[in-house]
């Protein structure tokens, strides 16, 4: 029989106003096993905690029930309190008589009655609690960063700076991500490449950083501190160790008609290519979809011109397996497809471009060498219309995204401003729903666009864009002016909403990390743990968690790195002791539990058991890895024999609660 102490908290008047705490502690004192029962103004205060500790020692309590606020609030507090007094922390149960009782009931009699029942349920449970000891598991002191954009680079650099080895896995041939495609950055208008490329080089040169470009994560096994990740190194048909990045092959390759993704298809590249001049690693890659040699076996020009002998048409994808202690998702974003927004004539006219395409058209390394020219005829545009919120803030529709993409207002202001600065002869219109500029120096920047650069900001949405005689007829409403506008534009720029990269969803499944309905990774807590995923050991960096601009991304990348460093600096991790365990004597070895386990925590072994009459029976039985198990309990219900049970939430404990409540 347990010796249980009951501590009823008043929570000032939060509980005491609608629950007769004295009546509760008196009633619970009569429950079997209860040797001490009291109430106190603030149990969580130092005095309250001292009282619990003193009582544990004085009465030799084996179990403690605290009737107080939600266990989500103070369960950890009271567990620590009891642990300090020498009681196993898992011998504590909380009866939630605040959030689930005093705060929802007005009548004191009702509240008191319910509080007593909740207290009884907690007592019934604690009777069946067993002391649990958290296990330890070692930590592999290496981190994996998935995604090599500015988020991934920054996270990797920060982790590497702290002295831990980091691998960056990037699916593209080069790291750098979206930022490499951006011309200038708001609100400072400094050159994106100028601030990014040094970081890329730093990453490449850092001894602790290993860049696995043109690679993808194939599978993830294991758990916090002990992940085993299989990485597919895609065949680039060029030996990375030999290629000098001279670029000769990319000039000589006869296949010239490959849409250049770096410039968003606004110009062409060769079948063998280096995405851009500052690529890291600066290594050529053969595009197998276009390479004549790989498709037909006839060509081989690149191989002939390569003095380093780096070309290897026989290269195969390679799978490598590595161990990590922590994983950072930094998979970034993409502008959404404009397929569903045909009212803006994106598919009908090359002069309707997305903002990212516009970015390339303004860039000195872009298809037009930095001169703003219309893609259709190469002429200088005079009237430009910028449309904001294309696909952002769409309520509930299938068409767009419900959220604000956050960065569009600022980059549109930037584009408008740069256009007016470089080409003062242009008329620039910006159609917006709202202009959102919360950020340091953001609103000032926007106001400069309006006031100094004379950009026409018009509140209202563009209804239709019709290409006609080389012009784009823009029909729009001016909400403030209360009129319909018709503008003959030369170019229309669409601020497309951004969405998480398509690779994020399958990655989330591999990581068993959760995602929201928009496929952004979910944080462990939206406010208090914004860079951790709910899955231990998985961290979030950059736009994969939500739309972000560069400063926010870099800040979050650093924060994620700090969390990783915190984890990797531990030698051992303490496991959650509330895990499943299998009673081997009852286990059928049927694998039902294994199939429902989201963590792969269950394995099987053949084990000899003593049978009747001194015989030995060999049976297949389940084994739970307590370091991997997260304690969800799916297996306990899948198991027909009830061999699988969950510590801390055992069948017997839950049924005891049921009994106490229904009594």
């Amino acid at each position: 029989m347990q010796k249980i102490g009951v501590f009823v908290c008043w929570c000032g008047s939060n509980i005491a106003a609608t629950v007769d705490v004295q009546a509760v502690s008196d009633a619970l004192a009569k429950e079997p096993g209860v040797v001490f029962s009291t109430n106190y103004q603030y149990m969580c205060s130092q005095a309250g905690q001292d009282m619990i500790q003193d009582t544990i020692k004085e009465y030799g309590l084996t179990g403690v029930v605290v009737c107080s606020c939600s266990p989500r609030m103070h369960e950890a507090t009271f567990r620590k309190t009891c642990e300090k007094a020498g009681l196993n922390p898992y011998m504590v149960e909380i009866a939630n008589i605040r959030e689930q009782c005093s705060w929802i009931h007005k009548d004191k009699e009702t509240g008191t009655e319910k509080a007593i029942i909740l207290g009884r349920a907690a007592i019934a449970k604690v009777h069946l609690n067993a002391p649990l000891t958290a296990g330890q598991s070692p930590v592999t002191k290496r981190a994996l960063v998935i995604g090599g954009g500015i988020a991934g680079i920054q996270t990797a650099l920060d982790i590497a700076e702290a002295g831990f080895p980091v691998d960056i896995v990037e699916t593209k041939p080069t790291i750098g991500g979206k930022m490499t495609q951006i011309d200038k950055t708001f609100p400072t208008l400094d050159c994106a490449a100028c601030i990014l490329t040094p970081k890329m080089v730093d990453a490449a040169q850092n001894e602790n950083i290993n860049i696995l470009s043109y690679s993808e994560v194939e599978s993830v096994k294991g758990f916090v501190g002990n992940f085993t990740v299989t990485i597919r190194r895609k065949a680039r048909y060029v030996d990375e160790t030999k290629c000098t990045g001279c670029g000769l092959c990319t000039e000589k390759c006869p296949q010239k008609k490959v849409p250049n993704e770096f410039n968003l298809g606004l110009d062409n590249r060769r079948a063998i290519y280096i995405p851009f001049a500052q690529a890291v690693p600066k290594v050529a890659t053969i595009d197998p979809n276009y390479c004549t040699m790989l498709k037909t076996g006839k060509c081989g020009v690149c191989s002939k011109v390569c003095t380093a002998g780096a070309i290897d048409y026989k290269q195969q994808d390679e799978l490598i397996e590595r161990e990590y202690g922590a994983i950072v998702a930094a998979t970034g974003f993409n502008p959404i497809s404009m397929d569903k927004f045909d009212e803006f004539a994106y598919s009908q006219s090359p002069d309707v471009v997305t903002s990212l395409e516009f970015e390339r058209l303004m860039n000195a390394a872009g298809p037009t060498g930095g001169t703003l020219l219309r893609p259709s005829d190469g002429t200088h545009p005079h009237t430009l219309v910028f449309v904001q919120c294309v696909g952002s803030r769409c309520d509930g529709g299938e068409k767009g995204k419900p959220y604000c993409s956050k960065i569009c207002c600022m980059y549109t202001a930037k584009h408008a401003m740069l256009t007016r600065e470089k080409y003062p002869d242009t008329d620039v219109y910006v159609f917006y729903i709202d202009v959102r500029t919360p950020g340091k120096n953001f609103d000032e920047f926007y106001r400069r666009a309006v006031e100094e650069y004379g950009v026409h900001y018009i509140k209202g949405m563009v209804g239709k864009v019709v290409p006609e005689n080389g012009k784009l007829k823009v029909q729009a409403s001016d909400l403030l002016g209360g009129q319909q506008l018709h503008i003959d534009a030369d170019m229309v720029v669409l601020a497309a909403a951004i969405e998480p990269d398509k690779s994020a969803r399958p990655l989330a499944t591999m990581l068993t990390a959760s995602m929201d309905t928009n496929d952004f990774f979910t944080e462990a807590h939206p406010k208090l743990r914004p860079v951790e995923s709910p899955t231990a050991g998985v961290f979030l960096s950059g736009a994969c968690q939500g739309p972000k601009d560069i400063p926010d991304t870099v800040a979050q990348a650093g924060a994620a790195a700090a969390k990783v460093i915190g984890l990797l600096s531990k030698d051992q991790l303490t496991c959650n002791p509330c895990v499943a365990n299998s009673n081997e004597l009852m286990c059928n070895g049927c694998s039902a539990c294994e199939k429902v386990c989201p963590y792969g925590a269950i394995t099987y072994i053949d084990k000899d058991f003593r049978g009747p009459n001194r015989t030995t029976l060999r049976r297949r039985v389940a084994q739970v890895n307590p370091a991997v198990c997260q304690g969800c309990g799916a297996c306990t219900v899948a198991c027909p024999s009830g061999a699988m049970d969950l510590k801390g939430f055992s069948n017997a404990q839950i049924m005891a609660e049921v009994d106490a409540i229904c009594k």
């Binding site: 009852m586 286990c587 059928n588 199939k595």
Partner: protein, 324 residues
């Protein structure tokens, strides 16, 4: 057929393919055959039978038998082979220790159906084909074979022999059966009528555990109903709640694993149509999650350890009910 099987059994023993044969042993009457393990030609020649009363599903015996040393040959009817595969899927049978011989089946007879037809004192029966001549203490009676088929055989789901090393009597096909007809009939009733129906049936339960112990899916090392720590253990149903509890939990534990072999209803001394509970689950699974036949293959994930992100919500039960 019997002779073919006996010859095969002897052959397998004498060729050293196996050292034991699992088959049916003749009883006092023509209908009370017992599953038995044969170890010699003599035993087989003396007592081995195969006939219209070999209804027992042999697959469950293979759990224990396949763990013994040596190899056992087993004669399995089509429905037995579904259970055989399902048990392998659950790692309960060591396939390498079993030589499985599929035996085609024309449907098994039910002695109680004969008795229900008013035939008393049954001593023996003759006749192949459609009509049986039954010898009784009170003279000979003749009866149509199809009228005395076991309930489950009247709506046989499949004559396919799965996963056997060898087949006697030819491979069969999956059949179109109306096996859900009775479930549908019950579904069409009002809840009050259904409640009355099941109370009437389940109140006869004597908790002899025959349904559980014969069931190939109920092969737990320790059943929750025998385990004092499980919280539901009981030896007898003290009242209507416990009668419901036992059968609901049992049906739930075999849901998605039950091959619908019908043994539970065959062995029930009180003739409770227990298979309807299992069929209800099978029907629901088929309708809600797509057709699934337990034991039909070795790879598909059983429906209760599987999911689709767009599975119907539990409220489908309420909605479906309100349409009636």
């Amino acid at each position: 057929m019997q002779e073919l099987i006996k010859a095969k059994a002897v052959e397998l023993l004498e060729n050293g393919v196996c050292d034991r044969v699992l088959g049916w042993k003749a009883g006092e009457f023509f209908y009370d055959v017992t599953p038995a393990v044969f170890r010699s030609r003599e035993e087989i020649e003396k007592d081995f039978v195969f006939g219209p009363f070999c209804g027992a599903n042999m697959s469950k015996y293979l759990i224990a038998e396949s763990r013994k040393e040596g190899k056992i040959a087993a004669f399995l009817k089509p429905c037995d082979t579904y259970s055989f595969q399902q048990l392998q899927k659950e790692h309960r049978i060591r396939r390498e220790n079993v030589y499985a011989v599929g035996v085609q089946c024309e449907g098994m007879c039910d002695i109680d159906a004969m008795k229900a037809a008013g035939i008393k004192g049954i001593l023996g029966a003759d006749g192949d084909g459609g009509t049986l001549t039954v010898h009784t203490l009170y003279g000979d009676k003749s009866v149509e074979r199809k009228t005395v088929l076991a309930e489950r055989c009247k709506c046989c789901k499949s004559k396919k022999l799965l996963g056997c090393d060898e087949i006697i009597g030819g491979q069969g096909e999956e059949l179109e059966s109306n096996r859900f007809a009775q479930v549908e009939k019950l579904e069409a009733m009002t809840p009050d009528e259904r409640f009355a129906f099941w109370r009437g049936e389940l109140s006869r339960c004597i908790r002899c555990n025959a349904c559980r112990n014969v069931c190939p899916a109920c092969s737990c090392e320790k059943c929750v109903f025998d385990n004092p720590a499980s919280g539901v253990e009981n030896k007898a149903a003290a009242n209507s709640f416990e009668e419901n509890l036992f059968h609901v939990i049992r049906a739930f534990h075999v849901a998605g694993r039950c091959t619908d072999c019908g043994e539970c209803s065959r062995v029930c001394p009180q003739h409770i149509p227990l298979h309807l509970l299992n069929r209800k689950f099978i029907k629901d699974i088929n309708e809600l999650y797509g057709d699934y036949q337990a034991g039909a293959d070795m790879d598909t994930r059983p429906p209760l350890v599987n999911f689709q992100t767009d599975d119907p919500e539990p409220s489908v039960v309420h909605e479906r009910g309100s349409e009636q």
